[in-house]
Amino acid sequence: MPDSPASASRSRKFRGMVHINWDRCKGCGFCIEFCPPKVLAFSESYNSHGYHPPYLTNEQGCTGCDLCGLYCPDFAIFGMRVPMETSEAEVAVREG
């Protein structure tokens, strides 16, 4: 069973973080459909290719399981686990 967002934030030393390469996304929806805690949704805005990339609807909810990363056929998204206190700013995203 996937963790509920609440239990994830209370009982874990790690939290999930998801990174989206906005312009690589082709809007297939795999990540949204197969995210176990269902914390992804299509954003309203378009990327440069005219697709709606996903966004994280609930920051606390992501477990960092990286299933989105495994599913994404366009290598546009991935999840990771970081120590609880790590802020977004402390993670340098390296894109290829």
Binding site: C28, E33, P73, F75, F78, G96
Partner: protein, 290 residues
Amino acid sequence: MSTAPAVQAAINPVEPFLRSDRMPHIWCPGCGIGTTVNCFSRALVDSKLDLDKVAIVSGIGCTGRVAGYLRLDSFHTTHGRAIPFATGLKLANPELTVVVYSGDGDLIAIGGNHFIHAARRNIDLKIICVNNFIYGMTGGQVAPTTPVGATATTTPYGCFERPFNLPFLAESSGAVYVARWTAFHVRHIARSMVEAFNKKGFSFIEIISPCPTLYQRRNKLGDGLDTMKLYKQKSVIKNGANTRDVDIAFGGEIIVGKFVDIERPTLHQTMDQQFRQVLKDRYAGLGGRG
């Protein structure tokens, strides 16, 4: 560098395996090929292989483009001939882990003869076949995997030929490792790939994968996501199933799992042993004189 705060490098796990300068790739939205590449990258990490000693060989097709996107020694060969190219590569340098990554048409139609013979010889190749039931690259023609009743551009009134059951074909030809998954089964795929990397001998992994642009659209099966949901719903995991029983009918259930995992001496072993036995100290080894 040393004064900077402890910054965690966040990098997509697939990224180190990609030729990032070649992105974006050519695959359509919702095509499953990219998904299988993620699994492949995770398997490479988990197997702890020395990546300098991993070579990937593809034939021609949408799946055939995989070799070109991976940051490995990679070979994009001719249609149907990935296996014999890989045979030469592996025989010439047995230290290499040689992966053949190609489509169903490439490996089983035009390359079918090479496929059965490589399996018979049990040459140590890891064959990853992305089966989308169609010729993707050339625009949706019938393949030897197209289920009866499905349409393709060259069978506009429906396919009337019985398709190959790939796991059965692989096993009966001599493969020592045979598994089938769908693109929905990402973790299973990655695990099977690790098992295949660790296996000595002809290993075959079939991955049923959506081709939304051609197969799905033409057969009114929706888009890539609809197909992935259908895979989730229609597939049944039966590890160890008799490969005779894993045919795929149009719209029917898809039996997935690891079907075969046996031991048999590889081509290199039998070759080496034979020469050793017969030639004794006249045998100079297979290594060459380079």
